[in-house]
Amino acid sequence: MERKQPDLVLIVARSFATKLATPAIIIDARGDLIYFNDAAAELLGRPYLDIGELPASRWQELFQPRTLDEEPLLPEQTPGGVALRERRPVHDSFAFLGLDGLEREITVTAFPLFSHPDEIVGVMSIFWELPAPS
């Protein structure tokens, strides 16, 4: 049965993210972006309300994620994608193009959101911008 609204775990995670001063982004069980907070908007280059929910393919197209060695990353290869696919926390770094046109390198901790021991409803990723090389 298709759900008419997100699982409570996603509702609570989104509420948590809205209150965090740390950049945070949430994807659902399909890998689609469903929310990022104001702190994340500073790095992504545009507020969530301007962008809204995005399918995985679309956010990959917009943000062009890639490794620190400039290799392109598919959505499922980003820390959030790996956390979703392998159902485990992931910590890694990668680069992307912000919607303000600036390239950024970030380090990410992504953790799966389980509503039941066998049911993953999404992934929450918190991240920081890596300091520019001196």
Partner: protein
């Protein structure tokens, strides 16, 4: 279906002259379906008197749906006559837990030193199950349970029979995780309550009280009214009355809620012990 309120008080039973009008028993609501099937929502102290009425009949199957296991929602079980009478079959449904079976969680209360008897000593045949993730059928009704915002694992229930919908959300703080003007899909419990003919909803606090108790798991009456409006509920029933609230104070809160509801909604009600509400056709047995 017929909905009977046996207890509408929240948190702690509150008997006395100040509460005699709406009653002091904690949460318990009986739903009688068209074929006579009995569903019981929560097992607060109100279930004691319901049990006395039930054992006047021949033993049967009862469906007991527990929203959560806070004491005010299970403390009546020790005095629920069908549980202690051979021949009755009790099917319990409750909130899921990743670690502990529902029977074991209920048995924490129904065991010494909190209670003199153990659940295993109860002669009724009892089955305990976490609520299914999909809607399920009980007699002629479809029941749906959904986890909702409250302290600890908690579900609400939606019961639909012959196109009429009754929703029960006695302990719920939807606006802890949503703003009043948020999109409805981001409001806890919204889909469960959407389009209900009757919603019995947590209305524990005044606005002033809520400001001091944010995160305690309950709603103000204004929030209850806002939630009912967001979900397109036809009629809101104020439920889970604060134990400190007198009958007179409840009626003052009612006046406030009545001002908030919209023209396309029925006037709200204050859930009261002994209240009986019929949705659609009544039992045909």
């Amino acid at each position: 279906m017929i909905i009977r309120v046996w207890g509408a008080r929240g948190s702690l039973s509150a008997p006395g002259p100040e509460t005699v009008g709406y009653g002091g028993n904690t949460s318990c609501v009986e739903v009688e379906l068209a074929d006579g099937t009995t569903i019981i929502l929560d097992a607060g102290t109100g279930i004691r008197e319901l049990g006395q009425r039930l054992v006047e009949r021949d033993p049967d199957v009862l469906h007991v749906c527990l929203t959560h296991l806070h004491l005010d929602h299970v403390e009546g079980l020790g005095f629920f006559a069908p549980l202690w009478t051979p021949g009755w079959k009790l099917r319990f449904w409750g909130p899921p837990s990743a670690t502990t079976a529902l029977r074991d969680r209920v048995a924490r209360y129904l065991s010494p030193p909190l209670f003199p008897m153990g659940l295993a000593e109860a002669p009724a045949e009892s089955v305990f199950e976490d609520v299914p993730r999909e809607p399920w059928r009980v007699g002629p009704a479809i029941i749906e349970a959904e986890t909702v915002e409250h302290r600890g694992p908690t579900v609400g229930f939606r019961i639909e029979e012959e196109g009429r919908v009754f929703v029960y959300l006695p302990d719920h703080e939807p606006y802890l995780t949503a703003a009043l003007d948020d999109e409805p899909e981001w409001i806890s419990g919204w889909a469960l309550a959407e389009g209900a003919d009757l919603l019995l909803h947590d209305s524990q606090y005044t606005e002033e009280e809520y400001a001091q108790r944010i995160g305690w798991g309950h709603s103000s009456v204004d929030q209850a009214a806002a939630f009912a409006r967001a979900a397109g509920v036809r009629q809101l029933g104020m439920f889970h009355h604060d134990p400190m609230r007198s009958d007179r104070e409840l009626e003052e809160l009612y006046d406030r809620v009545a001002e908030i509801v919209q023209e396309d909604q029925e006037p709200p009600i204050i859930a009261r012990e002994g209240m009986e509400i019929m949705l659609g056709a009544g039992p045909r047995h």
